[in-house]
Amino acid sequence: MAKLLTDDVVKQIEEAFAPMKENVQVMFFGQKEDCQYCSDTQQLLEEVVDISDKLSIEIYDLDDDADLAEKFNVDKAPGTVLAAKDGDSISDFGIRYAGIPSGHEFTSLIQDILLVSGRDSGLAQETRDFLKELTEPVLLQVFVTPT
């Protein structure tokens, strides 16, 4: 299969990943039917994960792994979760991608991987204090187009 990432892009990502600190787990949820971008998304993520030994990927299916999908609040395919991996322990930071992270969102994906690897959101202390006090779930959905 032809590579989605060119050698030049792989080189750029290698440089971007140089400051990576801790391990990051990518969880991909595909679906067998009616999923136009599932195979492309899976391939893209696999090519990114190949670039750093601090990255690993698990491939799941929205239907076959319904319990896990529900646990991680994944209800769309392709669905991607970026989580922190420390030994066997996975910590969910609430980061999800619904659809293919291409175009501008490919940059977001790389930056999110770096954030999770650094285990630091970069948010202001005031923001962190406020979020700590939240008593009900907040869902932020950012609609984007790949162009």
Binding site: I95, G99, P101, T135, V138, L139, Q141, F143, V144
Partner: protein, 55 residues
């Protein structure tokens, strides 16, 4: 408590229509309790979340 989801609008048209996405990026909070078009600075985002969760 906080989940942030990138949604590729053209792949999930029904959801985009539900929240009347006309420009991107659009940030939709808690099933349409707030819809913000354009970039959202951290302080604005927190102000919106405060407004919604205070109800």
């Amino acid at each position: 408590m906080v989940q942030a989801e990138m949604v590729e609008a053209t792949e999930f048209q029904a959801l985009s229509n539900k929240y009347n996405v006309s420009g991107v990026p659009q940030t939709t909070i808690n099933d349409g309790a707030a819809n913000i078009t354009g970039a959202v600075p951290e302080s604005n985002m927190i102000a919106e979340i405060k407004r919604i969760t205070a109800k």
